[in-house]
């Protein structure tokens, strides 16, 4: 089963490098990883998607907590949450195929962001499953180039992940 972890990191030199090389060294299988700014200056947020069948999620959390500049790690998989991935895809689109593609894009709420005589770039953000389905549908048209950012996630409701920085059981030592 896939797990989505959210981690808060202090913006210190090497903290990203430390996290990533930890995954390599311990043989953790990471499906996607994204990092970006948060509401607080000096604190970044990392979202990780892990295959929980091949990698012990508990060990990933505990080992991340051992890094001095990791403030908080939370497994949000079971919490109601919003998970989003962003897709940019360049599709082979001669004039005869254009309207069909535009219809598909419309159904998914995707945007056409560039058109040239025989190609089109489409942008779509949504859950990773939604993106998978869309990609499957447009694949027959001929995908020339594609990129996905990997997931970011946020739990629903008023509470925030940044609450108290340390969860009792997994404090660093």
């Amino acid at each position: 089963m896939k797990h989505t972890l959210v981690a808060l990191l202090r913006d210190q030199p090497g903290v990203l490098n430390r996290s990533v090389s930890l995954f390599r060294r311990r043989g953790f299988n990471i499906e996607s990883l994204t990092v970006g700014h948060t509401e607080t200056a000096g604190i970044s947020r990392m979202t990780l998607v892990i295959d929980g069948d091949t990698t012990s999620v508990e060990q990933v959390i505990k080992q991340l907590y051992k890094l001095i500049d990791v403030l908080k790690v939370s497994d949000v998989t079971q919490d109601p949450n919003v998970t989003r991935d962003l897709l940019l895809v360049k599709v082979y689109a001669p004039p005869a195929k254009r309207s069909e593609l535009m219809q598909l894009a419309d159904i998914f709420g995707a945007k056409i962001v560039d058109v040239v005589p025989d190609a089109m770039m489409i942008e779509l953000s949504g859950s990773p499953e939604q993106l998978d389905r869309f990609v499957d549908l447009i694949r027959p048209f001929g995908i020339r180039e594609m990129v996905r950012t990997g997931c970011v996630a946020m739990t629903r409701g008023a509470s925030t992940i940044s609450g108290p920085y340390q969860s009792q059981e997994f404090r660093a030592a």
Binding site: N17, K66, I68, V70, Q168, R171, A172, A173
Partner: protein
Amino acid sequence: MKTLTGAQMMCEALIAEGVDVMFGYPGGAIMPFYHALPEYPQLRHILVRHEQAAGHAAEGYARTSGKVGVCVATSGPGATNLVTAIADAMMDSIPIVAITGQVVTSLIGKDGFQETDVTGITQPITKHNYLVTDVRDLPRVFKEAFHIARTGRPGPVLIDIAKDTQNARGVFEYPETIDLPGYKPNYDGNRRQIKEAASLLNQAKKPLIMAGHGILLGHASVELREFAEKTGIPVITTLLGISCIPEDHPLSLGMPGMHGWVHVNRAIQECDVLFTIGARFDDRVTGKLDSFARNAKIIHVDIDPAEVGKNVVTAVPIVGDAKRVLENLTEIVNPNDHSEWVNHIREVQATRSKRQRDPESGMFTPHHVYAEFTRILQGEFRVCTDVGQHQMWAAQLIEYMKPHTHITSGGLGTMGFALPAAMGVQVACPNEEVWAIAGDGGFQMNLQELATVVQESLPLKICIINNGYLGMVRQWQELFHERRYSATPMWSPDFIKLADAYGIPGVRVERAEDVAEAIHQARATNGPFLIEFVVEREVNVYPMVAPGASISDMFEDPSEVEIEDVVAVK
């Protein structure tokens, strides 16, 4: 306001942290620091002959004193020479701070002369590390580094400081507080879990305590003993846990694992509750994991949450400091008596002990040496061992009575450890008898330190167990590689003449009957002394669990086992 150079700040910070000695070696990128050092006579600097030795000496100092050990090196080759010792400290949770010079800021990333990315290199082998390029960061970084090294699960921290930062001036204000929101070690075990552990122990019929390095690191020897005595539960000690309980204590059973005792491994397999504290279930202890402690519920106490549940399934996990958890547990656990169970283990031991402890007749083996050691020194010593057969025998055969008297490289198994580590031990305990015990192989990995021993007037007693082989590897070749002694026979120089070249007196001992006299002679010498014991060449360490095999399958000599079987499980 008065300003200081970065180099002066480094010295001030070391003093503020209570450092009075460091082990190091100068070079271009750390010269500003060495320029400032003479202004601080309260900081003793010991010049080693190779930076690896500075690292191990800092470890030896930390392993005995419980204080943070400090080593210093220049950039590039100086820093890379420290790497082995830093990795060693990481594996064994030793608090050291390694200080390295770095090329000037403008050259960082440009492959400047003697530039290496030492924070990159040491990232997976340090608890934390820093590159400092702004003199204003220096006080905070030193404060944090020492705090991180010594608290929680201790470990090495490296501070890499650009040369221009050492020369830059700034106001020195040493911070009183630390702001590390991501680092808050948990010392108090969870009350509910401790209660659960107590009730499990109260009900146990055949409980066993496995005490590891955490008892020594957490200064919990007294608490361990009180807990064991109140509950009547026998104690086994891992390689790094040795000396945390006096070995003549009626509840002390000895070492488990690959070269542990048969009765100890059998106790693990028979016990119904295994209370493990400050040990991390290394593969050299557990053997084949799925057959380890098959009948036991495991209680695991460790200060590092990541160790709990890493290798074995635990019934009761407790994250906390060994001393505090033991205190709390002793308070609430029922007094008990398990003499029947202890006697049962002792019976197994009695059937084995003679042949395990005695050398083969007619040969001169390390058994003679270590027996005399125990007899003559009466527990009043500190021993640093190297890595190999002599190390395992020293763990098995010498009797340790006081905490921190057995110092060895456990997790990394670093040959060349004994001599430099013993220097650190001797510096920490100037008035105690310190012995470095090494094989002929390992001794030659850091023998250049004899010069440091002499220059610093360290009264170390050095003992070489010379079997003419890389003995432990030869043993594996004999047992698992068709006796193909590939690259293990080893020529050595005349160690006595060598010692003499350094001005160190020594004797060579070739017969069991001369052991005692040599030890007496070493002890009577005011200053360093070297003994070379030329022992039987092909003697094996037994009992043994073949690598990857279950700890139930120990053998005491090759005739007891089908070697084919052993190879199959390897």
